[in-house]
Symmetry: C2
């Protein structure tokens, strides 16, 4: 009978598709992508869209000090399971990243209300502000606000490329930096957090599987390297007399790849930014700057790979008579997913006849920020061609059907008290 | 008696120093440097200063279609020797590069007029416009205009970084692109060109010598490399799935150095500019652009070194699944100096008890442009610390005394008809 109730809980894909289509029109761009930057009018409209859809269910919504949207069903005072994701996007991003997780939470609430079965525990839906960090470099903003809180002094200095202060952008939406600390109260009664998300990579598609259960969310550490040599005339300065800052920088770019390869799949490493200063074709660069990003679900591996790169950079700098300094620009610790919640997700997947795949998430997620405070787990559905953060990002309803079903049933089993 | 007349011809260093000091105040910057960009008010004032100093000698000056300043002494219809250099500078450049050559020409004219000995041949002083190319990327502008002429269609497209068209900047000084071709007439009766210049490198100072005689002016060929891979998420894209455009670019930066080193001092190579696109720390670069400059006084060596770099770039691009295209951005052919005029300079140097040093010029000069039309020769004086294009550029009068004396006597010996 209980298994019967769960197996009757089946998402209505047509209305989820309609939700996604309506949401996808907010911030839509000519080429099929969407742009909903944090604190923008478009992000605000996406949140208003969610509030309106909840109102159709008779569920009220609130917005906290970080502008996260919250809505809840279930008996007052009972334990809470939070579910959700985010509604902001990168510039010209996709219509599934974040959006599918929030719509999955909405559909889950709808199914629970339609099932009519009394909830023994509460389910709280969240749409977190600024997961992407595309505008202010403040990714995981809303989830960090509720999980650990922010360094307000640092945030007070933050501006976007147009020079607009984060504090101004928040004020335009009626939020104040000084009150941000109070957002943490939103998790005071929450026992765990579950998130459904598109994989943003090709692994599930290549394996022909539809459900991934995340084992850990990668740590991310970005270090900026600045090499300081001597600016010189590119004609009259003999090779032996040069202190060309770009040469050890180029060696370091290659060292990043080598060190990541040596990790045997336990880390990835990327140089995404490089500049030579002053940057003229006929001037030996006196300075070179580059970003070194290493990601790993294991803290020690992330530290080892960064250490190997730093040693290579220092040796090459010495060889070229150049100084090198490093500055950490971004650091997110790896987050392990909760074994009990992973097992609950796997169980519901298997009940559907699916064989869930254990996957590391190589992208950051709100769940990673929340893991600092709560047990969390994540379920991945496939991304067509592995494409993400791009207009072509797509997951067909047949590809997210199983994942959404397993997700909704995991939430229902807990809310109905069928799971311990 | 003739040797006596020549040995009496001795520059008055105090007035040359005064000229340099007065000229150095035009466009002077706080840190000791000067900024006199081409077509600027400051370059105009520097030319006006020269015209005023010539007027003190009773010598009239003219300005041609390229805004080069010309002044002449000697009998109408006689053969002409041109001498000179340029008055423009790079931003925050030095007070000797170009300026010392023009002031050396001015002092030579003064000495010839003071000597009172009748001239059998003419001496024509030139101050060429825009040798540096710092504003419009149109270096050797004035000397090219008189030597070979310009591609006017190309110049019509040229703008500075502020978007000002070269044609507008010229119009503000009363010059028209369409008339530029007429400037070539200025060399119709000229037999040869001599230029004195600071070395802009450390070789003379290190050898403890005061006179360099240039054997050849380096060729310069700048090629832009664009690597096209695939932009991807720096987390979810496994290393094996990447087509990171920056990796073959980094290999190419190192290949430039290796190829130049293998030339055994016959070429130098520099990467002065590099960019990764889109340029974010957490994005695998789908594009990388870099400049490759090779200089050599030998055309074949320049071509060989560029060829070796191109082969390395193509092999690395292939290895990383990346496309690479090349585009020539700048090309100046090497220019050999005239053996007879080099020997005349050496002879006057040795008569002073100096042992002149044969040197390749690794920087471009107006003499290089003029070499396409005339026999040319250049004399180098030391640069303190080899420094140039910088506020600290300096040559003490004791260090340019010998070079200026040899230069003036070489001009006088020819103008007086003592040399064939």
């Amino acid at each position: 009978m209980e298994a019967g109730a769960l197996s009757a809980l089946t998402p209505v894909l047509a209305r989820v598709e309609e939700d996604l289509a309506d949401l996808g029109r907010i911030g839509a761009r000519a080429g099929g992508g969407v742009t909903r930057l944090a604190w923008s009018e478009e992000e605000g409209r996406a949140k208003a869209f969610l509030v309106e859809r909840l109102a159709r269910l008779g569920v009220g919504a609130e917005s906290d000090e970080a502008a996260n949207v919250w809505a809840e069903i279930g008996p007052e005072g009972a334990p809470v399971l939070a579910i959700g994701s985010h509604l902001d996007t990168v510039p010209d991003g996709g219509r599934y990243d974040g959006a599918l997780g929030v719509m999955a939470g909405l559909e889950t609430m709808r199914l629970l209300l339609e099932a009519g079965r009394p909830l023994k525990r509460r389910v709280r839906l969240a749409a977190f502000t600024d997961e992407e960090g595309a505008r202010f470099g403040t990714g995981l903003f809303g989830s960090t606000a509720v999980a650990t809180g922010h360094d307000i002094d640092h945030l007070a200095e933050v501006r976007d490329r147009a020079g607009v202060a984060l504090a101004e952008a928040m004020a335009a939406r009626g939020r104040r930096l000084e009150e941000l600390g109070r957002a943490r109260e939103r998790l005071d009664d929450v026992e765990a957090y579950l998130e459904l998300h598109v994989e943003q990579g090709p692994r599930l598609e290549r394996m022909g599987r539809d459900i991934g259960v995340v084992t850990a969310i990668t740590g991310i550490r970005q270090v900026e390297y600045t090499f300081a040599g001597e600016t010189n005339h590119a004609g009259t300065t003999a090779l032996a007399d040069r202190r060309d800052a770009l040469l050890p920088a180029a060696e370091t770019i290659l060292a990043v790849r080598r060190a990541a390869e040596r990790s045997g799949g336990r880390a990835v490493g990327t140089v995404g930014y490089v500049a030579a200063v002053p940057g003229a074709a006929n001037v030996v660069p006196g300075e070179a700057v580059l970003s070194v990003e290493v990601r790993s679900p294991e803290s020690e591996v992330m530290a080892e790979v960064h250490g190997e790169i730093a040693r290579a950079a220092e040796a090459e700098a010495r060889r070229h008579g150049v100084e090198v300094v490093r500055a950490v620009r971004h650091h997110v610790a790896p987050a392990a997913m909760d074994p009990a919640w992973r097992e609950r997700l796997r169980r519901q997947a298997r009940a559907l006849g699916e064989e869930p795949v254990d996957l590391v998430s190589w992208a950051g997620h709100d769940a990673g920020a929340l893991a600092a405070r709560l047990p969390v787990a994540m379920l991945f559905v496939p991304s067509r061609g592995g494409l993400s953060h791009a207009p072509g990002e797509y997951t067909a309803p047949e590809r997210y059907r199983a994942g959404l079903t397993a997700f909704a049933r995991t939430v229902a089993a807990w809310a109905w008290g069928l799971e311990p």
